[in-house]
Symmetry: D2
């Protein structure tokens, strides 16, 4: 056994999400950062790499150079996987080249710029046989996994209704403090056709599908920009139908002043219900007809083995966002490790969002935008590319 | 000054909402129950009246008899107002006759069985000059009034988004414990064309319009019944547009297992936001961009004079549903008292849902049902009767 | 059956607690206010009485006059019971005269000015056979009664530890807005030897003993005044031993800035635990070893019959402080009604704090003050008068 | 700049706290584990080390061997610091030898087995000039640091009252699941003279002193064991006086069934108050007289620079226990780094519990045990060893 060696594209100094990825990768000591193309500037790439204690020779000026040169290195220190933490428009070309060069890929979301790209990526993943993972962070929380397991065990009975909401407030004003974070997300060339749905709506839809095990089949959507000068959506509502007939509602917004990152899921079945909030992630409510609600707490009493495998601390020692993120890294590394050992990956390791979720996420974005433009109420959710 | 004398139609022993109305009427000592037609059975009407310490002669067998005979009584003990606590289909005929006989009317919601009736009632209220109030209980909470005042003072800036939800779970199963409460609500002949929207959706829509001071102008709706044998809706979502361009979402459900009576309102403006939950009614959250949220608590620090006038206890001594209900009674009685004294009613007294809200509530029900049937996404909210 | 007729001593216009008592008495329609000595000024007593729609002849200038003249009235309209809502120093003389004149007594707390008076009162209650109740309001909450029942049924096993806290902040500054409320509570001649323990500490100790069914046997106390000019205590901590060996802690304070009325009880047994907070009174937490906590909610699922009998609304329609207060009135009225009917009172009616709690409350105050003065750690809780 | 190299004593595979320390050390990429004496068995030490990807030659059989051999290594890869994660009785001998061999020490708490040892350690720290840190984890939370800064800036005015509580339930039963964790904590030879106060009471007292900047001067204590077969305390209450005259209460318990790790601090000043709970660590309440409470949230609006420097994620992305722990590592590593660079350490780096807190913590334990045995109420808090 050895550590998995990771390269990074994007995420140079000052990029919030790059730092988060590095912490997540480091947390369990199973992955080491071995190289990177951290910035479009060679100098800045090297400067960043030095702060991560990398050798200068492995701080590349471009991702192309990185793949080419890493591929030439000896197997004993060559990169195993690349993580992609660039703006959206680069996700696909970087992932494509990585797969073609034989590297496993862990990508930030959304998977690509368009659904067409995601479908092409799917073909590539299948043809190359390389591993592909997607950092839908919120499915990394142990209590989300616990929820998923309880639904799978039919503790809720048949699902009737799903309410998932994701209000944020950070784009409520034109000139926020977070100028850099906002800039590329509001530029269709870098972000794709949707800001709010592409940035956070996909998280909400992924969370709903992950926990319920259901697929969205039909939607009715209403998205819009709330701030005058803005071309892209910053707020939206989606009514949904799932493949078992359940009804759903998804709310996502970046202009709800005072909301931080309030992703919340409620699932109502015909036997019981559950509720989970990202802001208090170690709690999961189970609700029943005419008997007391139960507060399931991470680490208290028997949890599903899946939730337990994704927990590091005992009850009452709160784990948070970085640990959820680290679970995705740890499990994805587990897949690579299994392959290195020539063994099948465990169920725990396999529980990472992958190419199926990549495609469905991009489909969600394109279907919502199309449905929002439609005068008809219901729009059939399709995996065919919609964007011209 | 004397107490206001009230007659009651419906609400005999065992009827939950009748007991609630009587408590609300009694709470502030300004109203006395003087007579009633509590049941369709004369015997049971008398039996009920006795438990309220009424004279047998003023326990009537029918509401018609009550209005006829009370009208003949001496002014010194004649009924001033009638409260209507029957199933929905009787609201209109009772209110109509009461107005025609010169009595003021306080009615449970929804105001009538159809929008057409509501419009006829509006004409009658205007022509008779009698007072008309509607018990949209939730607008009686002091913190709801505080919210309304803060919006009116533009503390939130321009309203951009309204999210109002009202999940309950009591109709999740076919055979609940609450058989009697459910039976008439699921019978269109008694309840009207909607169960969920007629019973609780109207509360949610009234709350949103009351607090924001805005009117719904367009809707997109999806309502349905979740339990097989059921003809009527028990769950629904409504996307909305308001007359200032704001977007809204209304969720109402009676099949969300484990939810009690979780009416909750969030209003997002371009300067600040607010949030209120009926289950913790003495709290009101104010949220801001990049500074700490404030927890406004009933009785702590200066409140608006409107909220203060609707508060009975100091901070930390929780008031609840019955006090909110009593506020509607107290303020409606204040209108009658003002008329008895030949004086204009105070702003506090006038802050009671009236015939305008009665009409808009019935319009809400009919528009939502029509919109839900439509294949088009958006439906123009109209005050014209829709139901055939 | 007829309504119970109540006279009031104290509580004229503007007195907060008088208004609360009247609302509580009115709420269930079983009690009518028939007379009162509302103020030490005859004129103001009459003025107050008029606002309650009383005849001038039954608005008395003194409580002595009230008892004398009411005793002479015909049985058909004579007062049945008196409620005492004066400052503390009058509780005893008024109660004493009432009992001697044959009236039942409901008294605000603490029962008397001294333990010696409480013991004398106990003798009088026993010798006259009149009914005596004490408005320890917080034991009127249905979820407190549910807690008491669950402890009694040994659901918690043997009680090991009790933590009861009652922080308020309203006396944190010398010159508060609540000048009148503060003035007499800080005057030993009117309030007795303790401000904080007499005003709120007794509530906390009563709540702990009521729910656990245990008696305090030993205490260690530390009370003090936090504001310079103040002679009386405004803050204190009491460590306790109960008669089963359990340990306890009681915190009470009037100088905890920002705290409203945060009475909170936690009871830990060797099988399970419970927690209740007055600020969210319709919830009761049950906690277990290594399995999920349960949120017991008023009206959800089967409650004890005692809790149910003290509940007026269905789940999710919050009841509050006034309803808890009204429960004490309703149950005390039930005792009187049973006596009028010549029948034994029900268990529900008997569940009102009485003369035993009156004596223990006054003992609590005197024991805490004595213990606080002692250099020894532990002080044996005694029912012998301590104050010189 | 290079990474700080860390050795570990104790914390082999399966030891909960060892894993936590390693995660904390890894999180920010500034520290690498270079060696360890993970177990008293040489074989198990090597086996553990291999799972951390260490060379076998740096997996030592004893801490003595580790210090001796690491001291001989070339400066380019020699250990800089040792972290001690053994049971309590080894803290002192390991720390002593490490300091004598010239290594910096980061120790788990409590610092030693006795106060006498702690004082000896203090002398050694001063004489060797090596760095010493103590993992009072909870002071690593950004909102705790925010609280400390606000108190220091006098936002609360003069502190009047401190309430700190730390209830857990995991030792409520004799035979828990956590047998190994419990065993040494209940053995005085390994744990010292107190279980509850030594394990969690010291955290609570450190938190109170850290946030308020005050020192405890007098105490009154009541500690006891709740489970029959148990020699050591598992529950206790301490009344306190601080050096500004403020009063305090500390509750700690390991037998409060259903409590997880509910460390909670409330500080009441004469101008404002604050409240923080470890179970929801990203929130800090500020409370005021007669105006709304404010919910300070990590990452929302301007925080103190100290809190900000200890934060990794934006608002609404919860950080937890491991991040708080990592802050202690990061800041302690910052002290070492500064020394390596020949520069003064920053204020942020210096904000780590050190030898002063080590001594006060051991004094707290011995003073509480002595005070609990005393028949007198108040016990003067002393830094002189008490234990025979």
């Amino acid at each position: 056994m050895r550590k998995i060696r990771m390269g990074m594209v994007g995420g140079g100094e000052g990029a919030f999400i790059g730092a988060v990825h590095r912490i997540a990768a480091r947390m369990d000591g199973e992955i080491e950062l071995c190289c990177g193309a951290f910035s479009r500037s060679a100098e800045r790439s090297i400067a960043s790499g030095k702060t991560f204690y990398l050798n200068e020779e492995r701080c590349y000026a471009t991702y192309q150079a990185m793949f080419e040169q890493e591929a030439l290195r000896n197997e004993s220190d060559r990169m195993d996987m690349v993580v992609i933490v660039t703006p959206n428009h680069l996700h696909f070309p970087v992932a494509k080249m990585a797969l073609e060069y034989g590297f496993h890929v862990l990508s930030d979301k959304p998977a690509t710029l368009t659904l067409a790209e995601a479908l092409e990526l799917q073909t590539l993943v299948e043809s190359t046989g390389q591993l592909y993972g997607l950092t839908y962070t919120y499915t990394g929380y142990p209590m989300v996994k616990e929820a998923q397991q309880r639904v799978a065990l039919r503790e809720l009975g048949e699902i009737r209704k799903v309410v998932v909401e994701y209000p944020q407030g950070w784009l409520a004003n034109t000139d926020g403090d977070d100028g850099k974070q906002a800039a590329w997300r509001l530029d269709p060339a870098q972000a794709g056709i949707s800001c709010c749905m592409g940035d956070i709506g996909v998280h909400a839809s992924n969370l709903a599908e992950y926990v319920t095990g259901l697929d969205v089949t039909d939607i009715c959507a209403d998205i819009a920009g709330s701030v005058d000068s803005r071309a892209m959506d910053d707020d939206g509502t989606v009514m949904m139908r799932f493949n078992n007939g359940a009804r759903g509602v998804l709310l996502a917004s970046q202009v709800c002043i005072g909301e931080e990152n309030s992703l919340k899921l409620r699932v109502y079945g015909d036997k019981a219900s559950l509720e989970w909030s990202q802001m208090e992630p170690n709690s999961l409510w189970m609700k029943f007809s005419n008997k007391p609600s139960q507060l399931i707490r991470c680490g208290v009493g028997p949890m599903s083995s899946l939730a337990e495998a994704n927990t590091r601390t005992p009850a009452g020692h709160p784990e948070g966002y970085l640990e959820a993120f680290a679970n995705i890294y740890k499990n994805f590394a587990g897949q690579i490790q299994a392959r290195l050992q020539g063994q099948p990956a465990s169920e725990v390791a396999l529980d990472v969002p992958g190419i199926r979720e990549a495609v469905r996420g991009m489909a969600f974005i394109e279907n919502v935008v199309a449905a929002s433009h439609s005068k008809l109420k219901w729009h059939r959710f399709t995996l065919e590319p919609i964007q011209p």
